[in-house]
C-alpha cells in the first residue's frame, strides 16, 4: 500500500479474503476489495457474480463466513447495518428501503442514533431542505413516500445517507430506474459528494455505466475476483470479456424478416395506473407475424401497462386491442391465453413462477387445462412429468430433478423455465417483458436465440427491453414509449443511441433534428 499522505491514495475500505456461502452456492470466494478515498469504484459483474453480496457484507446486512474488513486501515467487525452506519458506510439498494405510509422526513430520520426521544420534526425538515439544496436532490420533506415518483424516491434514499454523514456510499444498480437525463443528474450529485471527500462504490453489470461514472473498475466473476483496472485504461469490450471469460458476440445472426398478416393491432389505447393517473395515452401499433417489435423506454413510462393491457390484466379505458383480427379488448386473461397469446412477465419471480411448486408443475401451468395433461376429468401426473422432461431437455433447464421446487433454481434457469412454458404455449403472439434482465451473458444469449427462433417460426413478438443493445440486435422495428405515448416507430437498422436517448426523454421522432434521422447504425 502507498504510504504517502496524499488523500487521493489512502485506502478507506479494505476487504481481504472475503468468503460467503449460501445454501448450494458460494457467493464470494476469497474476494479482495479496496476503495480509496475520494474515488468512484465500479463493481462490475454478471448477475450471480457476487457484487451485491460483497457490498451487503460491507453494509452490514450479511456477515462474511471468513475474511477481514478494514476501515481507515483499522480492522472492524460489521454485524449489522447500524455498525456500518457508525463507520460511515451507507447503501442505496435496488429495491428502495422506504416506508410508504410515512413522510420523507420520517423515513430519513428513522433509526438514527442521535434522534431524541421526542423529535422536533420541524427542525428536521429544515435540515433536510438544506441538504437537498446543497446536493441538488429536490424533494419535499413533508410528502408521503407513496406520493413520490421512483426518481424522487431514490433521492430520498441518498438523502438518508447524507443525513447520516455517510463517507462511503454504495449504490446498487442505481440507474436502472432513471432516464438518461436523471442519470446525468445522479452523476453530478456523486461528483459533488466526491468533491467533498466522500467515496463511492457503483454496482453494475452494464459496461457503459462503468465508463461514464467510475475512476476504477473491479470485475467479479462467479464469486471470484478477476481484476482491478483504471477505467481510463480499459474499454467496454475488454470489460465484457473479463466479466464473462470469453469473447462476447454482440451481434446474433438475424435473418431477413418474412412478414405475414397482422397479429396484434392496438388502436388508440388508453389506460389508467394504480394511482388513477393516465398511463397509456393513445397507443397505436401493429405487429405482423414473423416480426419482432421492440419497445424502448425508461422503466415506468407505460411498458408494463402495455403488456397488461394486451394480456387482459389491466382495464383498457379507451381504444381497442385486436388479436388476429378479433377484438379482444378487456377480455378475461384466460380468453386471451386461449387466443394463443403468451407472456413472459417482467416480474418473473412474483408473476412468472410459483416458487414453492416444482419445476414440472410450473411448466404445466399453461397446459394443464386440456389434453394431454388433463383428460377424462383428471390431471395426469405421468404425462405432466414427461411433458416437463421434454421441455427441460429442449430448453436446457438446469435442475436436479423435475420435482425440485423452482425457487431453488438460479435466476437464469428460472427464466428458462418461464420461457419454455410460454413458448410451448404460444400460438401467434409472444409478449416478452425485459426477458434478459438480470441474466448473465450466457443466459441472455440463449434467450435472444429463442426469441429469434420464434420469429423464424412465424410468431409475432412484442419485446420490451431497457437494453438498447438487445433492441438493436433482435428487433425489426423499435418503438419508444415516453409517458404513455409512442414517440416514434423506426426500423432498427436506422436507429442510433442518440436518437433513442432523445426519444426516450420525450422528443417525438418528427421533432428530431434532420441529421439524426438520416444516420444508420454501423
Amino acid at each position: 500500500m502507498n504510504s504517502s499522505q496524499n488523500r487521493q491514495s489512502r485506502p478507506i475500505v479494505e476487504m481481504r479474503g472475503i468468503t460467503k456461502h449460501f445454501p448450494g452456492v458460494l457467493a464470494n470466494d476469497h474476494v479482495d476489495f479496496t476503495l480509496y478515498e475520494g474515488e468512484v469504484l465500479a463493481l462490475l459483474g454478471e448477475n450471480g457474480a457476487g457484487k451485491s453480496t460483497l457490498m451487503n457484507i460491507l453494509a452490514g446486512l450479511y456477515r462474511q463466513d471468513s475474511g477481514e474488513i478494514h476501515i481507515d486501515t483499522k480492522p472492524v467487525s460489521i454485524q449489522s447495518p447500524r455498525d456500518a452506519s457508525v463507520l460511515g458506510i451507507g447503501m442505496v439498494h435496488q429495491n428502495f428501503m422506504l416506508v410508504s405510509t410515512m413522510t420523507v422526513a420520517e423515513n430519513i430520520v428513522l433509526g438514527t442514533r442521535s434522534l431524541s426521544f421526542v423529535p422536533d420534526m420541524e427542525c428536521i425538515r429544515t435540515r433536510i431542505r438544506a441538504l437537498s439544496k446543497r446536493y441538488g436532490l429536490q424533494v419535499d420533506p413533508g410528502a408521503y413516500i407513496w406520493q413520490l415518483s421512483v426518481g424522487e424516491q431514490q433521492r430520498v434514499e441518498i438523502l438518508k445517507l447524507l443525513y447520516r454523514d455517510v463517507r462511503i456510499l454504495i449504490l446498487d444498480e442505481p440507474t436502472a430506474v432513471l432516464t438518461p437525463q436523471e442519470s446525468e443528474e445522479l452523476n453530478k450529485v456523486i461528483t459533488q459528494m466526491i468533491g467533498e471527500g466522500k467515496s463511492a462504490v457503483f454496482i453494475t453489470h452494464k459496461m457503459e455505466e462503468v465508463m461514464t461514472f467510475s475512476n476504477r473498475v473491479q470485475v467479479l466473476r462467479k464469486g471470484k475476483p478477476v481484476t482491478v483496472k483504471k477505467t481510463s485504461a480499459t474499454n467496454p469490450q475488454e470489460l465484457a470479456r473479463l466479466m464473462v471469460g470469453r469473447e462476447v458476440l454482440f451481434r446474433l445472426d438475424k435473418g431477413p424478416s418474412q412478414l405475414g398478416h397482422v397479429v396484434l393491432d392496438i388502436q388508440g389505447v388508453h389506460t389508467i395506473d394504480d394511482r388513477g393517473y393516465p398511463a397509456l395515452r393513445g397507443i397505436d401499433l401493429q405487429i405482423r407475424s414473423g416480426e419482432i417489435l421492440g419497445i424502448a423506454g425508461v422503466a415506468g413510462n407505460g411498458q408494463r401497462q402495455l403488456a397488461e393491457a394486451i394480456t387482459g390484466l389491466r382495464h383498457v379505458e379507451q381504444g381497442r386491442v385486436l388479436i388476429n383480427g378479433k377484438d379482444l379488448t378487456n377480455r378475461a386473461p384466460l380468453e386471451i391465453i386461449r387466443a394463443g397469446v403468451s407472456h413472459i412477465p417482467a416480474d418473473r419471480i412474483s408473476m412468472g413462477i410459483v416458487g414453492n411448486m416444482s419445476v414440472a408443475h410450473n411448466l404445466a401451468m399453461k397446459g394443464y387445462r386440456k389434453p394431454p395433461l388433463f383428460q377424462v376429468g383428471v390431471l395426469r401426473p405421468r404425462r405432466i412429468l414427461n411433458f416437463a422432461l421434454r421441455l427441460i431437455s429442449l430448453f436446457q433447464i438446469s435442475t436436479p430433478r423435475p420435482q425440485t421446487e423452482v425457487k431453488f433454481l438460479s435466476g437464469g434457469n428460472i427464466q428458462k423455465t418461464i420461457l419454455a412454458r410460454e413458448i410451448d404455449a404460444c400460438r401467434g403472439l409472444l409478449i416478452a417483458g425485459y426477458p434478459s434482465r438480470g441474466l448473465d451473458v450466457g443466459a441472455t444469449e440463449a434467450v435472444r436465440k429463442r426469441l429469434l427462433e420464434q420469429r423464424e417460426a412465424g410468431n409475432a413478438i412484442l419485446l420490451i427491453s431497457e437494453d438498447l443493445e438487445e433492441l438493436y440486435t433482435i428487433s425489426d422495428r423499435i418503438a419508444v414509449l415516453y409517458e404513455g405515448r409512442i414517440m416514434g416507430i423506426i426500423p432498427s437498422h436506422r436507429t442510433t443511441t442518440h436518437m433513442l436517448g432523445l426519444m426516450m426523454a420525450g422528443v417525438e421522432y418528427g421533432s428530431l433534428p434532420e441529421e439524426l434521422k438520416t444516420n444508420t447504425t454501423s
Binding site: M97, V99, V109, L110, G111, S116
Partner: protein, 317 residues
Amino acid sequence: MIELVTSILNITLRAGTSLIYATVGETFTERSGILNLGLEGIMLTGAVSAFATAYYTKSLVAGIVVALFIGASLAVIHAFLSITMRANQVVSGLSITLFGTGMASFLGQRLGPESNGYYLVGLVGPRFRPFTVKWLGTLPVLGALFNQDFLTYMVYILVPCAWFYLYKTRDGLSLRAVGENPYTADAMGINVLKVRYLATVIGGMLVSLGGAHLSLSYTPGWAENITGGRGWIVIALVIFAMWNPARAVLGAILFGGINAVQFRLQAAGATIPAAYLNMLPYLATVVVLVVVTWWEALSKKVGAPASLCKPYVREEK
C-alpha cells in the same frame, strides 16, 4: 334525562375499561406486525390469576402484578412461536386461546380453598371500589368520568400516553416502521425482533390487566367465561379504531355502551331483541373493515400495518 345519560356513561366506562386496556395492548402488538388471537385466553387467565392472588394475599397490588406477569408469559409464548419460530400466527394465537381458556378453567376449579371444593367461584375477594373525585364527580354528565375505580382512572392516563408514544416519539416511529415494512426498519438499524417481542409482551400485559379489571372490579369475583368473548371483541375494536390507540376509546365506549343501553332499553320496554343489539358491534366492525379497505385514499394513510401476520425473516446474517 340527564340522570339517565350520566348513569349510562358511568356504566359504559366501567364496562369499557377492560376493553380499553386490551385494545390499547393489542393495538401495540398489531402495530409491530404481530396478530395475537390469543386474547381471550390471556384475559381469562389474567382474570383468574389476579383474583386468586388477591384473594389469598388480600392485596390488590399483588393481584395486578401477577396478572401482568401472566399476561407477559402467555404473550411471550406467542411471540416466541410467531417471531422466533416463524409459526403461523393465526394458529399460534388460537392455541394460546385454547390453552389459556383451559388453564383458566382448570385453575378456577383447582385453586380455591378446600372449604369451597377447591373452586374459586362464589368467593368474595378484595376489589377496586369506585371513588369520587372531589367536585368533579358532581358535574352533570361528565361527573360519570370521575366516579370510577382506580384502574379506570389509570386508563385516562394510559390512552393519551399511548397515543403520544406511538405518534410523537422516536420509539413509536420505529414501531410503526416495523409494522409497515420490517425489511426497511431492519436496514435502518432497528432491531425488528426486539421491537416485535416487546410490543407483543407489553400488549399481552395490558390485555391481562383488562382481564384483571373484570375479576377485581367489574364483576367482581371469578366465574367461568367471565370475559364473555371480550377477547374477540378486542380484535374487532382494534380494527374499528384503525390501529389508533386514541380511537380505541370510542370503540370501547361503543361496545361497552351497547351493553349498558341494552339493559335500560329493556327496562323501558323496548322491543328490539337483545341479540340484534349485541350483533351490532360485530356487524359495524365488518362495515368498518370494508370501508377502510375499499376507500383507497384512506387505506394509504390508515389501515392495517402492512406486515401484519407476516413473519419477518432476515435471510442469512
